[in-house]
């Protein structure tokens, strides 16, 4: 009869061997997962593009790895530039270079809004921490600041340039007109001409007979009544329908129907969504115009 000790050895050794092989397999899979990142091929292509465009010195000194713009003042860590490598090669690399290597299309805007001061996500939204395509652009439950993409803008019948103005107004909130922010400028003008401040309070000025709007952009959409709303259940759509015909959305509301056109209602919605409780440092807020009375 086989001695006990040998029986255990025979039975366990095979399993131990198999588990060890599996262990090495899993460790190898872990190493592969770590190496095979989404951004690595883009970075390798970028180095080639640099060389092809005659940027030999940059091509030589380019080192593969995660890149980020860190702005402690804004609490921003933007790793978008790990893939979007051509962002500050405006005028150097061709403007029609395929994404994600395309240089930023608006050099004049960047002249006043340097990458090292603003990063990417303060204007574009999205998850700056992420180094993966979906997590960065369309993060779902893991991030509550969606990226303002052309597709998202199109779903509200806007261009991405118009939708982005909502975020420009985070800093330009106190200006009456700002170059390049046509939709927001229109909304600010409507706010004056429709005399919204008679009923609504904003920044400590206005009436008390209607809800305060100072931080209207932070409203939790779950607290709104969507029962009469057509289209997607979003804060944007709710505000939009509210400006088109408030009485249709909220039958008991005291707000009159102003008969706004869709572009006007969209502009007003962008303005509402831009009024958020943000703590940007003062150096990011533009100086008021000389004739501005506080």
């Amino acid at each position: 009869m086989e001695p006990l000790e040998q029986k255990f050895e025979r039975r366990d050794f095979g399993w131990l061997f198999a588990m060890s092989i599996l262990f090495f397999g899993l460790v190898a899979a872990g190493l592969w997962q770590e190496y095979k990142t989404a951004w690595r091929p883009y970075q390798e292509r970028f180095r080639l593009v640099l060389a092809q465009q005659g940027q030999l010195r940059q091509a030589r000194s380019f080192s593969v790895g995660i890149q980020q713009i860190w702005i402690p003042d804004l609490g921003v860590v933007d790793r978008c530039v790990t893939c979007h490598l051509g962002y500050d090669y405006m005028g150097v690399l061709p403007a029609d270079l395929a994404q994600p290597l395309t240089p930023h299309p608006l050099p004049a805007l960047i002249h006043h809004h340097g990458f090292n001061r603003f990063g990417c996500t303060p204007c574009h939204g999205g998850q700056g921490w992420a180094t993966e395509t979906t997590a960065a652009h369309d993060p779902g439950d893991s991030w509550n600041d969606p990226m303002l993409t052309p597709r998202l803008a199109a779903s509200y019948q806007m261009t991405v340039g118009e939708l982005l103005q909502m975020r420009c107004n985070f800093c330009h909130r106190q200006e009456q007109t700002t170059p390049g922010m046509d939709a927001i400028n229109l909304a600010k003008q409507l706010y004056q001409t429709k005399k919204c401040a008679v009923c609504h309070m904003v920044d400590g000025r206005g009436g008390h007979s209607a809800p305060e709007l100072t931080y209207e952009g932070d409203v939790n959409p779950e607290l709104l009544d969507f029962s009469h709303l057509k289209g997607p259940h979003t804060l944007f759509n709710w505000e939009y329908q509210h400006f088109i015909a408030a009485s249709a959305l909220l039958p008991t509301t005291a707000m009159p129907d102003y008969g706004m056109t869709p572009p006007q209602a969209r502009a007003m919605t962008l303005l509402m969504l831009s009024w958020k409780h943000l703590t940007y440092p003062p150096q990011y807020i533009p100086a008021p115009p000389p004739n501005h009375s506080p």
Binding site: L4, E5, F8, E9, D12, F13, W15, L16, M19, S20, L22, F23, L26, V27, A29, G30, Q33, E34, I66, Q68, G75, V77, R79, W129, A130, T131, E132, A135, D141, S142, W143, N144, P146, L148, L152, G217, N220, P221, E222, L224, F226, H233, T234, L235, F236, W238, L273
Partner: protein
């Protein structure tokens, strides 16, 4: 050359060279590693089907959690400004950070489950009888410490899931009469989950609770030997003790009656045939290495395949709909929610039943059970002994009820705490854009 190499090898690795046979014998006697396990282990306790090696698996998970946890500590900052960011860094920028966090998370969830299953095994085999009752009590404390360890770790990522799970969990605790609100205040360091809570939970999670568990685990292990090994040996031992036989000459009562009871060595092998035993090294050590590898591979595979959850940053102003406690407490939340009765304006809170009565009664039962069990000692170490059928059915029924409540809470509860079947589409909550 060979001799010289050997000399270097010894010099490099051996801290101490025995000068005499007595010294080398002492080196063995005093070596902790050689006394971790008994010298010999019986064939019965090596069986896969008796213990299912669940206790060993729990210890392996604890080891994995300690090692991955210490590594995670290098990157984690327990402040409400930095905590969430440091987890995002781990997820996206730190080499192997995501794998490390995933493995830590899945091992932690696994440990809660395995520790419970280990307890169930001990119950079903009546392995808590007689002198083992003390070790059962240590086990109950270890289960509670494991739950608390997992619960404190739940908060650390500082995302919505963490924030609201801790809010719900500590609110259940606050339902206890008189002391409830004080316990919650003490845990949170205030009335709301905040910086104080994060720091308290962090210190509990990385120091006090692991230290408690490691110390109790060491004692738990030692008691297994002290109580005569696994309970599966008892039936054979009882039979053999009936036939008196001379103890082997080499065995002696080491304490010579200075203390009551017998020494570990005597108890662990008493009444067992030499022929049924194998040397613990390498048979037991190899088996433990095997269990460790199985557990490690499983957690690593899970870590490779599934990401640990991470939602948006904690926001006290926005409650996720629905907000759920961690899965191992969700059955209490389910009880609290479904036993709350509303009659017009009058609300009878289910907090008393779900938050106090049920957990306290169950805990009291766990503690008292070894002393209430009146079945004969012959049941010890037997799976589902007929004599204990009613006890086992009771335990099984309670466990299944808890499992069912957990299933309902985790999978079937949707927005507004309404019930949805798994395949029923749930209403999408309104978004900003």
């Amino acid at each position: 050359m060979n001799r010289r190499l050997q000399a270097w090898w010894r010099k490099g690795l051996w801290a101490w060279n025995p000068a005499s046979e007595r010294e080398s014998a002492e080196a063995i006697v005093r070596n902790l590693w050689l006394h971790w396990f008994p010298a010999k282990v019986s064939q019965r306790s090596m069986s896969w089907s008796y213990s299912l090696w669940l206790g060993t698996a729990a210890a392996c998970l604890l080891t994995i959690l300690t090692v991955t946890g210490v590594m995670l500590m290098f990157f984690y900052t327990p402040s409400i400004e930095r905590a969430y960011g440091s987890i995002k860094d781990l997820q996206y920028a730190v080499s192997f950070g995501r794998l490390l966090r995933n493995q830590h998370r899945w091992a932690a969830e696994g440990m809660v489950a395995i520790v419970f299953l280990h307890m169930a095994r001990v119950f079903f085999t009546a392995a808590y009888r007689g002198p083992r009752a003390l070790n059962w009590l240590i086990g109950v404390i270890l289960l509670l410490a494991t739950l608390l360890l997992s619960f404190t770790g739940y908060l650390l990522p500082w995302d919505q899931l963490a924030f609201w799970a801790i809010t719900v969990g500590t609110s259940i605790a606050s339902q206890a009469p008189i002391v409830g609100p004080t316990i919650r205040y003490l845990l949170l360091g205030g009335h709301l989950v905040g910086q104080q809570t994060l720091l308290r939970f962090y210190v509990l999670h990385v120091f006090f609770l692991p230290a408690l568990i490691w110390i109790l685990f060491a004692y738990h292990m030692w008691r297994v030997r002290k109580d005569g090994g696994l309970a599966v040996l008892e039936s054979g031992r009882a039979a053999r003790l009936m036939q008196p036989k001379a103890m082997p000459a080499s065995k002696s009562y080491s304490l010579f009656g200075l203390t009551p009871g017998t020494s570990v060595a005597v108890m662990s092998s008493m009444g067992l045939e030499e022929s049924e035993q194998v040397p613990a090294s390498p048979t037991l050590t190899r088996r433990i290495a095997l269990v460790f590898l199985v557990v490690f591979n499983l957690t690593l595979a899970l870590a490779l395949l599934f990401d640990a959850p991470l939602q948006t940053i904690a926001n006290p102003a926005v409650t996720p709909n629905p907000a759920k406690a961690p899965w191992y407490f969700v059955w209490l939340q389910e009880l609290v929610a479904s036993t709350t009765v509303r009659l017009g304006d009058f609300t009878l809170s289910g907090g008393l039943l779900g938050g106090v009565l049920v957990p306290v009664i169950l805990l009291a039962l766990l503690v008292a059970w070894p002393f209430l069990d009146r079945s004969s000692r012959a049941c010890e170490g037997l799976w589902f002994a007929k004599e204990r059928a009613r006890q086992n059915l009771t335990f099984l029924a309670i466990s299944l009820a808890i499992a069912a409540l957990i299933f309902i809470g985790v999978f079937l509860r949707g927005p507004y705490w309404h019930l949805y079947w798994l395949t029923t589409p749930r209403p999408t909550m309104p978004r900003v854009l």
